[in-house]
């Protein structure tokens, strides 16, 4: 490994050190402690997965900057390795899914990232995610010491060392490129031409102003086309915000298919629940009667609160669903047929949206791309599992 690491090893396990035969904790620990650890295991898994995808995205965006692309691919492999290490540990403690990593990732790496400026932006964002990973592993490392969990201790130490090495690599790249990017006049058209990935199908690199409108239109076109073909009305006002969100913020957790479907379902239920509570199921509607019935007004207010609550409880926050809520509470959706049509429309948008955001985020099969069969990461994982190390004399 690296020279600095020789000074790091105190009680810490070595990368390929002998497997300890000592019993591992978890079986005997209390459920409360297991739950506490599980929360951070979930965070670590989420952060690792996001960082792996982000590194692969950066590797493809900047494939013509060989050092960036090569290094990012290597380090994405490290992330796959860490996720593999975590599997048996999750088996002992469990894992609580965390939204934080996905939200963090959604705030980063967006926009049009080409050329030197785009590269610096991406390196900064990867650094932020790596910092997040490093603190998460530090928390687990410290916990593992008190728990005397040698396996978790070793994994946390080695994963954190990879974070340190990633940050060192990022800093070196930034040191090299920043002066030439900031202090030399750029010819934008030439830089763009020299920076776009070679393969035309690298949709991850399509600039936002091109991707956003086209993706939004594509998503909404699906219910529109099916509607016209089937002769049933499947287009509703509340599908517009969903299509726009998926197109503009594909990395946001709110854009996930789960959030779309569960969010809108919650909206429908909340809307009807509000109407039931205020007895306004058959009140005049805003749409046909052009009056705002007081029962519908208060039902709308209550229904919105319920929609938000359902979204939070089911980890299915999806703001556009609130439009469905009001569509129901204000009387736009009344019959079972209406509900069925809306549900079909939502499902179609959710499927189309999920496909497009996966393409956009290069997440079709990140694990396979980070660890092709027979490749290096597979070998790393095997090493870790079948460590045969015996320290030689001397």
């Amino acid at each position: 490994m690296t020279a600095s690491e020789t000074h790091r090893r105190t009680p810490s396990p070595t990368g390929a050190g002998p497997r300890t035969a000592a019993p591992l904790p978890a079986a005997g620990t209390s459920e409360a402690i297991r739950g506490q650890v599980a929360r951070f295991i979930g965070l670590a898994q989420g952060t690792e997965a996001q960082l792996r995808d982000a590194l692969l995205l950066v590797a493809e965006r900047h494939e013509r900057d060989y050092d960036v692309s090569r290094g990012a691919t290597l380090m994405a492999g490290w992330r796959t390795l860490h996720l593999d290490w975590l599997e048996p540990i999750e088996g002992r403690y469990g894992s609580v899914p965390a939204e934080r990593p996905e939200k963090l990732r959604a705030a980063l790496l967006g926009g049009t990232r080409v050329g030197g400026m785009g590269l610096l932006d991406d390196l900064r964002d990867i650094a932020l995610l790596t910092e997040e990973s490093q603190t998460t592993w530090t928390i687990l490392y410290q916990g593992a010491r008190e728990l005397e969990d040698t396996e978790l201790l070793r994994v946390a130490a080695d994963a954190r060392e990879h974070d340190v090495r990633t940050l060192r690599w990022l800093r070196t790249l930034i040191n090299h490129s920043a002066p030439e990017v900031l202090a030399v006049a750029i010819d934008p058209s030439k830089e763009l031409e020299a920076s776009l990935p070679k393969a035309a199908d690298r949709v991850a690199s399509v600039p936002d102003p091109l991707w956003g409108p086209l993706a939004g239109m594509a998503v909404l076109a699906v219910p529109a086309v099916v509607s016209l073909a089937a002769g049933a009305p499947l287009l509703f006002p509340s599908l517009g915000p969903t299509a726009a969100l998926v197109a503009v913020e594909p990395a946001s957790p709110a854009s996930r298919a789960w959030n779309v479907v569960v969010g809108h379902a919650g909206g429908i239920l909340a809307g009807f629940a509000g109407l039931v509570v205020f007895g306004a199921l058959d009140a005049p509607t805003l749409f046909t009667d052009k009056v705002l019935d007081p029962g519908r007004a208060w039902a709308s207010v209550l229904a919105l609160g319920l929609t938000i609550l359902v979204g939070m409880l089911l980890r299915a926050n999806h703001p556009p669903a609130a439009a469905t809520t009001l569509l129901v509470s204000l009387g736009g959706i009344r019959t079972a047929d209406d509900v069925l049509h809306l549900a079909v429309g939502v499902v179609l948008v959710a499927i189309a949206g999920e496909l497009l955001r996966r393409v956009r985020l290069q997440r079709m099969s990140p694990a396979e791309r980070a660890a092709p069969p027979g490749g290096l990461v597979e070998a790393w994982i095997r090493d870790r599992r079948e460590s045969v190390f015996e320290r030689p004399p001397g």
Binding site: M1, T2, A3, S4, E5, T6, H7, R9, T14, G15, A16, G17, R64, D65, Y66, D67, R70, G71, L74, M75, G115, G116, R165, T166, R168, W169, L170, R171, T172, N175, H176, A178, P179, E180, A183, V184, A185, I186, D187, K190, E191, A194, S195, P372, G375, L376, D383, S387, V388, F389, R391, P392, P393, G394
Partner: protein, 804 residues
Amino acid sequence: MHSAPEPRAPGLGATRDAIDDPWGPRTPHPGSAAIDWPTRVDARITAQPERWVHSVCVLCSTGCGMDVAVADGRLVGVRGRAEDRVNHGRLGPKGLHGWEANQTADRLTRPLVRRHGELVETSWDEALTLVTTKAREARERHGKGAVGFYNSGQLMLEEYYTLAVLAEAGFGTANVDGNTRLCTATASTALIESFGTDGAPGSFRDFDLTDAMFLVGHNMASTQTVLWSRVLDRLDGPNRPRLVVVDPRPTVPARRADVHLAPRPGTNVALLNGLLRLIIERGWIDSAFVEAHTTGFEELVTTVDPWTPERVETVARVPAARLEEAAEILGTSPTLVSTCLQGVYQSLQATAAAVQVNNLHLVRGLIGKPGATVFQMNGQPSAQNTRECGVNGEFIAFRNWHNPDHLADTARVWNVEPSTLPAWTPPTDAMHIWRYCETGQIRFLWIMATNPAVSLPELGRIHRILEAEEPFVVVTDAWLTETARRADVVLPAAIWAEKTGCMTNADRTVHLSDKAIEPPGDARPDLEILLEVAQRMDFRDRDGQPLITWRDAEGAFEAWKACSKGRPCDYSGMTYAKLRERSSIQWPCNEEHPEGRERLYEDGVFNTSPDYCETYGHDITTGGAYEPNEYAAMDPGGRAFIKGAEYLPPPEEPDDEYPMLLTTGRVTYHFHTRTKTGRVPALAAAAPETFLEIHPDDAARLHIEEGDEVEVGSRRGSAFAPARLTGIEPGVVFMPFHYGDWDEPGRERAANRLTMTGWDPVSKQPHFKYAAVRCRPTGRRAETNAPRQAAEAEPLAAPAGGRR
């Protein structure tokens, strides 16, 4: 056995035929400290000399001392200097014949500028006015980083030093690198990462004294013929040392080896980790040395642990039994000389692999002793000088860019403000210089004495960059090379024998090469051109005086002595007079070592102290640089670094579309892109055409026969070459990289049309020796029968063959 010909009195003609026998007759010896390598003076003269002029051969990194013969203002021959410590009189085929290139009719004699798309002759004044106008415009309008310099491994020390001051203190640009990035950058980084600073620890004399040799990716018989003669005199003598060779091709050294390991291209780290694992496991290490003089051993043990012989066999395809045989020789020999060259540097994980060879010597304690050293070899004659002078990505005189004291010291020597020196970043490596040309940041690029239009990877891309409107490209060369043809200004240069200056070889030996003849036409030495540009740019020091004060080569050398004083490459004890008198002197040469120092690190103390080291080191897997505080925390205290390295997968794997691996390299009779050697009749005739080496099994499968023209294609382009069936590893093909199209415009045969834009993360040296390709016969027979190179063909005798 032949005795050496009578020294010092060669008659007309040649003392030997170096084309048919590149290494010459044997002078075997048993390899004892009491016996010097016997002399054998090689000479070749074509007319009666009027006088002999002190010089050095410039066609590889060995640096053989020679005298050149002059008659009637022309070169008429050469002879080796018997007293020279490097060659003891010998010269190789390129040395004996290469001088003829100076006098070819197509030398450039007048400056050329591009007008309406054509290069037309002009005056020096007009050409230099254009150059300085464009340079000033780029710098003032677009920033210091809009100017770039791409120099060479074939200029002289005095020229590099002048360029360093001009570019760094004058233009203030960090974009200065040489084509030495393609050949010796890894030698430099490997030495720095392990030992703290650049500089070969040993002496060529260690080949005479050693019990075993380990050639890693180094076809010494072709790249350094005289050094191979030195090795042959041991291999053919009593008390023969054992020889281990790592090469995917059955080269001449491979066929002389006790153990030949032929790994799959790109797997050097796996192979070397396997060797280190065996040596550690068997206890063949010098624990006392490791304890006292190294740091990092524990990590190495952990890193190499998974590399069992069986695992190495799976990844590198080297039989486990072969690996064990090699490990036994390397682990038990009382002394050992290892050398690395392009098979390491131009392959994947270059620095990581080269450092493992250093590690082998560190764990065995075999360094700094007679017969025990490691050579991180150079390719070009003055590659060492580009590194010393800080125009190959290092800071001047092996100073440390990140050390404020070193920066202040340099500013003192140059009498400039430290803030004006581009120390905010390590110097831009060549691959990034070309990248910045591609993205438009560099608008003015000056290429000196090299030919990137043939030598860089992915030539299609390089040609597009050179042919674009920007950058404005200035080329200094002696001939209209493939690069010069694409330039905006071409400046005719005087070359070796037409100017005076020093060159330092791969064992720190400094030679002076005196001017023997006048350059043709208006051609001028690069030094003069640089000095005039400095004057025209009116660069000043902090007292308002001219930045560069010297006017000639000796003045530049004296300035360099002051700059190098106190650093590892200390020249302060040398003078031109002393260099002429002694034939050659190794650095450091100073008050402590007035006659130079043969070996470094004899006391086991390395140059790793934080205030002396050349960099703070890198993660050799990722290229991430350590900060000063991290380095201080490692507290090497004069101990060498042992840095282990994980094996990484290649950037592209062979697949159905591109199922084979291409590796590129050199032939005995040519140097670089044949700019000189292709113009020398005997050398050109010995190796007239490129070729594709392929295993007979692969050839049969692809319906390719000896001499058939083959189209070789990669993801980047294609090239055509006649097939040559040899014992190369199945699945691997080889092409020499020398052949461009200056002599046959439009010929698509350059191997670098296929190679990839990818490089080592530490040394930034490109991966010339790894590319996935496909091969198919075109149905044509080659016009020239390619396989005629004696030094390659005889030992490579095709298994399917019967050709000769």
